[in-house]
């Protein structure tokens, strides 16, 4: 009889069987855990035949929607499912009945991947329904579809152009995030990039023209990125700074009419729009603010712009060499005044700093000098009325303030001289004492000397 613990031929099978079972268990566990991990689902959609079928497809175009929709998506989080937009039957295991287009099996007929007007209608079915939206987001607007119809995109779509943007082009279709989510393509800092996806693409924009027939430009995004608005938005953390939709509209996107530019800029830059509206340039400028400030590449303005000689923006309408050109003269005069005030403020500030360094209290004067700086800012605002008679008084006020500060500075310097004079007096007293002491020392010496060797005269 052979010992039972020795390996026999044929023993391999049981061991292999065990190993196979362990392997199968391991694979099973792995798949289970892996599928759980990769799905990252918080709440699996109830009708999950769409997901279970689509997620196992080989074509990634069919897998992506389930992946995105299963991730962070505002609709799914509110309880919506695939069929709420696409229709079809969520419980059917086979494609034919799941994709039921007749509406007999499913509550809503399957409509496949909506595009063009059908896509607008799909979104608008809920988002234009005020009563429905009230129960989800009462403050949210419900007129996006109406606005869209008035936009260039909407009008072109109605005319049959399928290349234009629709809801999904900007918001996405699956994995939609709230506008307030920083990763949303329509979060303020991302808007320009989203618009640029099409509008900076020359191939895509080929064939489109402006109203005057010239080809639609594609450099707006690059221009915008040089602007102070873009800088304020992305680096200055000022989400109120304008991006594409602030001037062109959101859903009703269309370039502002030529005459309306000043109104658009004036939404934020109200004071400048006001001054400009009362100025001589208002009826003349076709493009309003854009004539001087550009529409997309709006850079930080400087006093250098106010000139009829390059790099000023008053030319080529105004000629700096023409002595009879009143506009050129006005520009030159206003600019000279502003630059003079700026220089005076700098000079006075340096003087005060010097006094402070020497030990005179000047914080009152420094405070007053800031008001002169405010006058300079106000003058630059007033300049948009293009009337030197309005700008000059403000500059004059500024110069008066600087003069007052200078007078106070003089008082500071007088204090310094007073200190020196006081010191001279003390030096005088010290001198008297030193001389007296010197004489005293000599006297004592002489007395000692006489004591040791008394004068022979006595």
């Amino acid at each position: 009889m052979q010992p039972t613990n020795r390996v026999q031929p044929g023993d391999r099978a049981p061991r292999t069987a065990v190993r196979q079972k362990v392997l199968a268990l391991a694979i099973g566990l792995f798949v289970l855990v892996g599928s759980r991990a990769s799905a990252a689902q918080e709440t699996p959609p109830r009708g999950n035949s769409c997901v279970s079928c689509h997620s196992t497809q080989l074509d990634q175009r069919l897998v992506n929607p389930t992946r995105l929709f299963g991730g962070q998506d505002v609709h799914r989080e509110k309880g919506f499912e695939c069929v709420d937009c696409h229709g079809g039957s969520p419980a059917s295991p086979d494609k034919a009945s799941a994709h039921d287009a007749s509406g007999r099996i499913a509550a809503m007929a399957f409509r496949g991947k909506p595009a063009g007007q059908a896509l607008i209608a799909t979104c608008a079915r809920c988002h234009s329904d005020a009563e429905l939206m009230r129960s989800y987001a009462p403050k949210q607007r419900v007129d996006q579809a109406t606005e869209y119809a008035a936009s260039v995109h909407g009008k072109r779509l109605a005319a049959g152009d399928t290349k234009v943007a629709t809801c999904a082009s900007c918001h996405g279709a699956h994995g939609i995030r709230l506008v307030s989510d920083a990763r949303s393509p329509v979060f303020p800092t991302n808007v320009a990039g989203t618009c640029a996806t099409c509008h900076a693409d020359e191939k895509r924009m080929a064939g489109y023209t402006l109203a005057d027939g010239s080809p639609l430009p594609t450099h707006q995004f690059n221009d915008y990125r040089t602007s102070i608005h873009y800088n304020a938005l992305t680096k200055g953390n000022d989400l109120a700074a304008p991006t594409c939709n602030d001037c062109h509209g959101n859903h009703g996107a269309a370039p502002p009419n030529v005459g309306a530019v000043a109104n658009v800029c004036g939404t934020c830059h109200a004071v400048f729009a006001q001054k400009f509206a009362a100025s001589v340039h208002q009826p003349i400028f076709d493009k309003g603010c854009v004539e001087c400030h550009n529409n997309h590449a709006v850079v930080k303005p400087s006093d250098q712009m106010l000139s009829a000689a390059a790099p000023g923006v008053c030319q080529p309408c105004h000629n700096g060499d023409d002595k009879t050109d009143k506009g050129a003269a006005a520009a030159g005069g206003m600019r000279a005044g502003m630059e003079r005030l700026k220089d005076e403020i700098d000079r006075s500030g340096a003087l005060l700093a010097g006094l402070q360094n020497a030990g005179i209290a000047v914080s009152d004067q420094q405070l007053a000098l800031r008001e002169a700086g405010s006058k300079l800012t106000l003058a630059r605002t007033e300049m948009h009325g293009f009337d030197p008679a309005l700008v000059a008084p403000i500059l004059g006020d500024g110069m008066k303030i600087v003069a007052a500060v200078d007078r106070a500075g003089q008082a500071g310097r007088a204090e310094l001289s007073f200190r020196r004079r006081g010191l001279f007096l003390s030096l005088g007293a010290i001198l008297i004492f030193v001389v007296a002491l010197g004489l005293k020392v000599r006297q004592i010496d002489r007395r000692d000397h006489e004591r040791q060797a008394p004068s022979a005269t006595v």
Binding site: A270, D364, F433, L437
Partner: protein, 161 residues
């Protein structure tokens, strides 16, 4: 020495010597006293605390409660920058930096809207220092307000947060 009476010379010499010594001592006393005064006077004045109390880096007395009617404000100096102390309609006292975050103009209080307003480009802030409208990119720096004293006579002490 010069042919004068020898007997009288030492006395005369002694007398002038004595006078000279007296004069010198007097001069010395005057000199010493004046130089001592020239040192003691500045030192004495130095020891007396100045009116401004202490270096106004951390806190400053902005105003007295009684000078601020409800729904009004006053500008005060904090270091070398302006601040604004506001008394709201229900009597609460708040203080902010009066430097507009847009282009450094000095803001003012508008009693009709109970808001802080910048005249340069129409920037508006609410009474929490937050931007309501206009170009300012950030709110106004908020200061801490403490009252020192009793009732209407109390001093409004503003400190940096």
């Amino acid at each position: 020495m010069l042919g004068t009476d020898k007997a009288s010379l030492p006395v005369a010499a002694d007398a002038t010597e004595f006078d000279r010594r007296r004069f010198l001592d007097a001069l010395l006393t005057v000199g010493f006293v004046s130089t001592a005064a020239a040192i003691a006077y500045p030192v004495g004045r130095y020891l007396v605390p100045p009116a401004s109390g202490e270096a106004a880096t951390e806190s400053v007395v902005a105003a007295r409660v009684k000078t601020l009617r409800p729904n009004s404000a006053a500008i005060f100096k904090f270091g070398s920058k302006p601040g604004i102390v506001v008394r709201t309609a229900d009597g609460e006292v708040r203080a902010f930096s009066a430097v507009c975050s847009h282009l450094d103009c000095t803001v003012q209080f508008k009693s009709d809207t109970s808001q802080l307003w910048c005249a340069c480009h129409n920037g508006t802030y609410d009474l929490g220092g937050n931007v309501v409208s206009g170009p300012p990119p950030r709110g106004l720096e908020k200061f801490i307000v403490n009252l020192r004293g009793e009732g209407d006579d109390a001093e409004i002490v503003v400190s940096r947060a």
